[in-house]
């Protein structure tokens, strides 16, 4: 069943074309990965889908409803979409637990005890229950991102959007997040994941769409997309990512971490760290 359908989405800003007719579908329980160079419009695309940005053309149908039409309740729409950001964007004045309960308390009007219980369940799902009462500044990057994912999941969204969830993390911490994506995919959570990280794209195991200059140029499994018959644009992107990966520090030189985990699913480990 189609959860999200994007048809010929266009966005022009100051006479510049940012999105140039993007179309794709996301099925219930599916994970789709969007890759592409910086400035290709990936973040803008996600923002159009929950109306943080306003497209200038096209159609978006989410849960059977036209999202772009007039009279759409933007705030209700956003509550159906969990959003995870590159820089975590945790509320710094709130504990991990309070970050997760905020929406439940103030959007669902849930009593404190019920919200706490529910939030603790989500934190446990991310293996973060032991850190529930810490403030963001007291958590590592990987832990912050896990809290952010718990926060996004707390409202029982129909879909999760990830915007480069591992780009601000070192290779070891990226793995924590990759493992979680893997776990959520096994639980059949619908997800749309923008990333630069080839390791993430591969380990997550979803279909990959390649976005460049506001258009989707190729779509397929990671290996066929980046394989010998790749589109030249995709090949150029791939080579650049590989070059950057080679200059990045090796995994065993990463800072000591309290959450070190064994190697995740096989793949070009730590290839695309930036």
């Amino acid at each position: 069943m189609t959860l999200l359908s994007v048809q010929d989405l266009k966005l022009e800003y100051d006479g510049r074309i940012i999105l140039d007719g993007v179309s794709f579908d996301l099925a219930q329980g599916e994970l789709k990965v969007i890759m592409g160079p910086s400035g290709s419009g990936k973040s803008t695309l996600l923002r159009c889908l929950n109306r943080l940005a306003t497209p200038t053309g096209g159609r978006v149908v989410f849960e059977g409803r036209d999202v772009l039409g007039p009279g759409v309740d933007e705030r209700a729409l956003r509550q159906r979409i969990g959003f995870v950001f590159q820089n975590f964007a945790l509320y710094r004045h709130l504990t991990a637990l309070q970050n997760v309960t905020l929406a439940l308390r103030h959007l669902r009007r849930m009593p404190a005890a019920e919200a706490d219980e529910r939030a603790l369940r989500q934190l446990a799902r991310m293996d973060m229950q032991a850190h529930a009462h810490k403030y963001p500044a007291q958590l590592s990057g990987g832990q912050k991102q896990r809290v952010a994912i718990a926060r996004a999941l707390a409202m029982d969204p129909a879909v999760l959007f990830f915007d480069e969830p591992t780009s601000a993390l070192d290779p070891l911490m990226s793995r924590e997040v990759v493992n979680i994506l893997h776990q959520l995919r096994d639980e059949r959570v619908s997800m749309l994941c923008v990333t630069h990280d080839l390791y993430l794209a591969r380990a997550a195991g979803g279909r990959v769409m390649f976005l460049d200059e506001g258009r989707i140029h190729a779509e397929g499994e990671v290996d066929e997309l980046f394989g010998p018959n790749a589109d030249p644009r995709v090949r150029a992107f791939f080579h650049q990512e590989l070059r950057q990966a080679q200059t990045a520090q090796p995994i065993d030189a990463a800072q000591p971490m309290d959450q070190a985990q064994p190697a995740g699913p096989s793949g070009p480990a730590g290839l695309a760290e930036r």
Binding site: R78, Y91, H106
Partner: protein, 216 residues
């Protein structure tokens, strides 16, 4: 009359000095918060209007505004009690300064947190109340202490509208005893003690509500 007796005599005005300082500081916080909040979420024309307000009220001398309010408004048929006159002059001027302090502190709130809150489906007002104000107030503590101190130091103008504060007591006392130097030395000591109390109190409050990694 010993120095200690002078101090005790003046102490009768301390309550009024503190009352004026607290009332005007609170007025300042309310006005400053209102202005800073409306400028943050209001339309551009309102922002312009509020900008003009802060600009003008930061330029007016406190004593001039106090006299306009206390002696001028009764001409328009509006009698203003002395404390209210202080709040409408010193308090509102402090509000204009605090609006700037709060504006700067609002700008220190991470834009990505506001975006995350929007993406979550919170209303603009909820974001202000739940995310921006709690952080902003903590960022604004040093600036607020600064402004409260300024209010304390302007509070002696209260005697000009008949509030029997420390300054008023000192003037009557020096008129009857002719021991001005000692008396005003005592006044200085009293203001220093009130200042110390004020600063210690605000920092104690800040410490109790401090969040690891948010400030300093």
């Amino acid at each position: 009359m010993s120095f200690l007796q002078i101090l005790l005599q003046l102490a009768g005005g301390v309550g009024y000095t503190i009352m004026v300082t607290v009332a005007c500081s609170l007025t300042g916080v309310v006005v400053g918060l209102g202005v800073a909040m409306l400028s943050r979420i209001g339309p551009p024309w309102l922002r312009g209007l509020l900008g003009a307000f802060t600009f003008i009220f930061r330029a007016v001398p406190v004593l001039v505004l106090l006299f306009i309010v206390f002696f001028g408004l009764p001409n328009a048929g509006l009698r203003v009690p002395p404390l209210v006159a202080m709040m409408l002059s010193l308090g509102v001027i402090a509000g204009a300064y605090l609006a700037e302090v709060f504006r700067g502190a609002f700008d220190s709130v991470d834009a990505s947190e506001v975006l995350a809150a929007e993406a979550m489906g919170l209303s603009r007002f909820q974001i202000l109340r739940l995310i921006e104000i709690p952080q902003m107030l903590r960022f604004a503590v040093p600036g607020m202490i600064n402004e409260f101190t300024t209010v304390l130091k302007y509070s002696p103008f209260a005697y000009t509208v008949g509030i029997p504060d420390v300054m008023k007591e000192a003037m009557s006392l020096s008129a009857t005893t002719l021991r001005g130097v000692e008396i005003y030395l005592a006044v200085g000591i009293i203001y220093f003690l009130i200042y110390k109390l004020l600063v210690t109190g605000v920092w104690a409050l800040e410490k109790r509500t401090r969040i690891p990694g948010l400030t300093g």
